[in-house]
């Protein structure tokens, strides 16, 4: 079996990665002063905690965006072949959009899209 390209490639990967780490360890500058391990070496002291708390809604919005944005990508691929797929394809795309709309309606009714806390619907 003709394995040598694979072996060569793997060897090259190992050599490259190894030399990058190894050389920087040998040649790299190293200093150990008072503020080396501080976040800002310029001398500004950091204040408070790094674990700032954000409202869950930011994450929700981000997630919805990703989900719906990704789903709509499928429509591009349909658009390319729309003429070939004909009416059947059209209806299928319509159903696909319908399912997305249904999900949106569900989220909206659930109150997931409401921004301010007091207008949020009480579910149970």
């Amino acid at each position: 079996m003709n394995l040598w390209p694979f072996v060569l490639y793997a060897a090259l990967v190992l050599i490259t990665a190894g030399s990058m780490i190894g050389l920087s360890a040998i040649l790299g500058e190293r200093h150990k002063e008072r503020f080396t391990n501080q976040p800002y070496e310029g001398g500004i002291l950091s204040e408070g905690t790094a674990r700032a708390r954000f409202s869950i809604k930011f994450y929700m919005m981000a997630m919805f965006f990703v989900v719906f944005d990704l789903e709509s990508v499928f429509l591009y691929s349909w658009a390319v072949a729309a003429r070939d797929l004909g009416w059947v394809g059209y209806w299928e795309a319509l159903i696909f959009i319908g399912v997305l709309v249904a999900a949106l309606v569900y989220l909206w009714r659930l109150g997931a899209l409401d921004w301010s806390p007091d207008t949020r619907r009480k579910t149970r």
């Binding site: 999900a103 909206w108 579910t123 149970r124």
Partner: protein, 480 residues
């Protein structure tokens, strides 16, 4: 796509549509009874639609899905099992203070994923079905968010299943890279022409075995099983143990049979080793558990090992034996976890073996059902589990895989030991806790009826399996 294609796809379409309908109903009127009723109706319609679909089989619908008798048989199993899970979930969820309705949407989507899985004969649809199933199961296992252990279960399942999916995907990629096709029948012709001997194909299949192993929870890919079984709500555990594993076993059969890679020496060897390890380790580890859910988890590892014996036996006989064993096993696990579900109070699931001490004298009906289930797991006559074991041993004997058969015989005796421990507790006559010490929840009517029906189905299959055997034997035409 022609209308015949749609008819063939009807079970899948109905499942998907039901999920959307239930979701919409939640959006406008949040009602547990409404959501569960809609789910049950949808499942019933999906089950009914198997008959019109049966008129159109076998049919290749798009290059991705194939609807044949094999797929339809497993559709029926999946839908019926989901129906039973819904019935036992109603009473269980009523006792818990969570949003109950979304549970059914997730369950329907999981059922849809399983159905896609069993009808796929292409890597793409295989992976799609698997992911639809897995993603919903992450959410379902962590459904009771107030329990720390449930979150742990969901998290473990997420990480390990994602890792296994990556292995599976890499395996598929390797096979595709070498053969240039992702469809099982085309792989078959390629393999038959000698392509299977190529190193990349072998490596790809090995990676895929890892993916299969994780989902089936066989040794050494079983580590998540006890924690997920214990942490997930009892109805979800029932679903994972029955539908999810059942669908995975179906695609295992379809892929390895249809692509012809079952007959590779390497495949047989590796699955043989996995089967032996699962039977031995599963049964031995179950011996030391005091938690009924964990006992059942380890026993499920062993049972998947038995199933792989049927797979190893091969041929029509082996595939049919595996499918029958799986049918029996699905009914049995549904029943066993159903008993746990109906006995569980709001705070915790009834999973300690002490919860079952003397149950026969307090709730004879429930204890009888549980005993029937345990005897079926142990393979005692009158139950379907016995015939399943008989069929599997017969398939193994027919193929003269003696090592596997003797490991099966020896380990199933070990298995008896821990099933009997639970039975002993059920029928214990001393130190029976009074109602004040360990109050027993009222058994919900729907859950009770479901359990009764499952027990009767188990005995019916164990005594007069003719109808099911016939269905299975004709269903196997799909993968030969």
């Amino acid at each position: 796509m022609s209308s015949a294609d749609f008819v063939a796809l009807l079970p899948l379409i109905v499942l998907g549509a039901t999920a959307i309908v239930v979701m919409m109903s939640i959006a406008f009127r949040r009602s547990h009874a409404l959501a569960s009723t809609l789910t049950l109706v949808g499942l019933a319609v999906a089950f009914w639609s198997l008959w019109p679909a049966a008129g159109e089989v076998p049919r290749q619908v798009t290059p991705l899905l194939v609807i044949d008798r094999f797929a339809l048989y497993y559709f029926g199993l999946i839908i019926a099992a989901t129906f039973a899970v819904v019935l036992m979930s109603y009473g269980y969820l009523e006792r818990h203070d969570v949003r109950r309705e979304e549970f059914y949407v997730l369950l329907l989507v999981a059922a849809l994923g399983s159905a896609v899985l069993v009808s796929s004969d292409h890597f793409i649809s295989f992976f799609l079905g698997l992911e639809i199933l897995s993603v919903t199961l992450y959410a379902l296992s962590a459904y009771l968010t107030e329990r720390g252990i449930a979150l742990e279960a969901g998290m473990k399942y997420l990480v390990l299943a994602a890792a296994s999916a990556a292995f599976l995907l890499f395996g598929m990629a390797l096979v595709y890279a070498e053969t240039g096709t992702m469809s099982f029948p085309q792989l078959a012709s390629d393999f038959a022409a000698g392509g299977a001997a190529h190193l990349w194909v072998l490596a790809g299949i090995a990676f895929m075995v890892t993916g299969f192993g994780f989902k089936l929870a066989v040794v050494p890919f079983h580590l998540w099983t006890p924690d997920v079984y214990q942490g997930a709500p009892a109805p979800v555990t029932a679903f994972v143990a029955s539908v999810s594993k059942g669908a995975m076993f179906a695609i295992l059969l379809r892929f390895f049979y249809q692509s012809g890679s079952r007959d590779l020496h390497a495949t047989l060897l590796i699955f043989g080793i996995i089967a032996i390890a699962s039977m031995i380790a599963g049964n031995l580890m179950a011996l030391f558990q005091n938690n009924v859910k964990r006992i059942l988890a380890y026993s499920s590892i062993a049972h998947l090992g038995y199933l792989l014996v049927a797979f190893e036996a091969g041929g029509l006989f082996g595939a049919a034996a595996g499918t029958f064993y799986l049918t029996a096993y699905m009914i049995t696990t549904l029943g066993a976890f159903g008993v746990i579900a109906v006995l569980s109070a709001s705070g915790r699931d009834a999973e300690d073996i002490e919860d079952y001490r003397g149950l026969f004298w307090r709730r004879p009906g429930l204890a009888t059902v549980f005993t029937v289930m345990l005897f079926s797991l142990a393979g005692i006559p009158l139950t379907a589990g016995f015939l399943g074991k008989f069929y599997t041993v017969a398939a193994g004997t027919n193929s003269s895989i003696w090592v596997l058969i003797f490991v099966l015989v020896a380990t199933s005796v070990i298995g008896l030991f821990y099933y009997l421990r639970v039975v002993v507790a059920l029928f214990a006559t001393e130190h029976i806790p009074s109602d004040a010490e360990r109050p027993l929840p009222v058994v919900p009517a729907m859950g009770g009826v479901t359990l009764g029906v499952l027990a009767l189905a188990l005995i019916w299959l164990g005594v007069y399996p003719h109808v099911i055997l016939h269905a299975i034997q004709s269903a196997m035409s799909g993968i030969f």
